[in-house]
Subunit: 329 residues, 2 copies
Amino acid sequence: MKKLINHVDHVLTESLSGFATAHADIVALGAGHQFVRRAAIKRGKVALISGGGSGHEPLHAGFVGHGMLDAACPGQVFTSPTPDQMLAAAEAVESGAGVLFIVKNYSGDMMNFQMAAEMLARDNASVVVNDDVAVENSTYTTGRRGVAGTLIVEKIVGAAAERGDNLAALKAIGDAVNSATASMGVALTSCTVPAAGTPTFQIGADEMEMGVGIHGEPGRRRVKLASADEIAAEMTGAILKDLSLKSGQEVILLVNGFGGTPLLEQYLMVHAAHKVLDGAGVKVARHLTGSYVTSLEMAGCSITVTAADAATLALWDAPVHTAALRWGA
Amino acid sequence: MKKLINHVDHVLTESLSGFATAHADIVALGAGHQFVRRAAIKRGKVALISGGGSGHEPLHAGFVGHGMLDAACPGQVFTSPTPDQMLAAAEAVESGAGVLFIVKNYSGDMMNFQMAAEMLARDNASVVVNDDVAVENSTYTTGRRGVAGTLIVEKIVGAAAERGDNLAALKAIGDAVNSATASMGVALTSCTVPAAGTPTFQIGADEMEMGVGIHGEPGRRRVKLASADEIAAEMTGAILKDLSLKSGQEVILLVNGFGGTPLLEQYLMVHAAHKVLDGAGVKVARHLTGSYVTSLEMAGCSITVTAADAATLALWDAPVHTAALRWGA
């Protein structure tokens, strides 16, 4: 295993310390590295809290800040955070308007966030993200997995929370954005969890995992490496079918690198995805390209499409100031 | 070779097309994919033009926009752009106040930018960036290599150009920032140039290249993989020695991933670098962390430090709106 680390037991705490130091103008660390929270809390606003296993950086801590999350709870790499972390985060950032948890659909996350929600003596609700169209049920999931679409849900709900929407309204917006969002990914290589020390899965030198999950979980099938155009056609086609998009529909397009794929290739995939979307008459109103929801150093990418009306695009465009996403602020 | 591409001959043009589509609000492509320019030119401002081999994305095209570059000329992967490209870019974006070329110190880039400068029938000057303290002379370089510090030069000179500084003033600022900037990198794995199809260099499963260049050029020595703290101590120590920083000096700290190193590890390196800087009494006034000056999918990172007075920090903080760097705008 080749990683820039000191000891596998300290990877997460040392990384979080570096993150909090680098972004001290935006975030602060909770006691015991339990959570990352906004440095300044806006009182009377619904508190948005997300979290999940680490190894997907910048998700979620990189999205804490104005216009997006109030706190993020990092578990160990590819391991759910605990209810204690979520409760501590909620106590730190809730300011009278309740808590909305944004949860990726993995069994561990669902169980622990649900436990926290039940124990929390404050108004709360949860939005579950399950945007991955590759497979129904998977290694760590009942139902569809939550993947890169989580970023889009967090951005849009975050903007609505910032303008003062109440808990019920935010829950409704989050559920609607999730329903309007679909993703699919492909892996060319595996990744190595530090504590494991060996690759999560084995894959041949000429193979790819089509429909891979963000923990390296199996997708639809293991096949020979195809061209970018063929890969984009299959992934974007599956997304269009899932969303039943009509010609003329405006969408947000996220081409997301998994960590080991250069921007050079990610933008080539933007070009490839556009051929499919343009062919279907779907209009890309907004783009985001980069390694935002990653699987450590896994090579590959995912494509995410969110159908968006003018109100949704306005929330997407609203100011955001986080470590990983920043505009208009 | 596992890459998301269609054909090695079309990697660059398809990627540039995707980039220009994704960022059509900021940039436009020159004819024949010769350069990337700002979508809107600000008349009467000195035009800043950079460029170099591709494979280092987001450098340089990702830094075209308000507050930074006016145009970037992409060569093929790890290959210098041609004087024709630079001349075409200059004709497209120069608006009466002259052209400042920002050139990384590689023999091919130096020769071609110099040729363009001589052929260009407009006022022009050049800033040469050579921030890499690892080695004097290298595979493609006479003197020190230009690496991630280029980003810092482009940001600070870009801000000064935006406020209206003239060509001579910008040249002086660029030279001064370059002199105040030092970098050093480490590679854990190689990268593969698409047209070559095989890794640029071979490296053992337990080895690292200390002082590597951004094309995988040899550094100071090939040694056994060390801990993050040991690596940070050697790199940051070499930088501090080169810059002769005194206790109390304010600096900008850039921890830059080479493409295949997760943010989790990059922030851990921020933490590690801080131990050295804090120990030396150097005060990190600004942080930037991410994969900004890359070597395709190479695993590893570099550390860059720029000594900065209040005027320099103000230019660093000035609004920037590019594909890869955005704040205050």
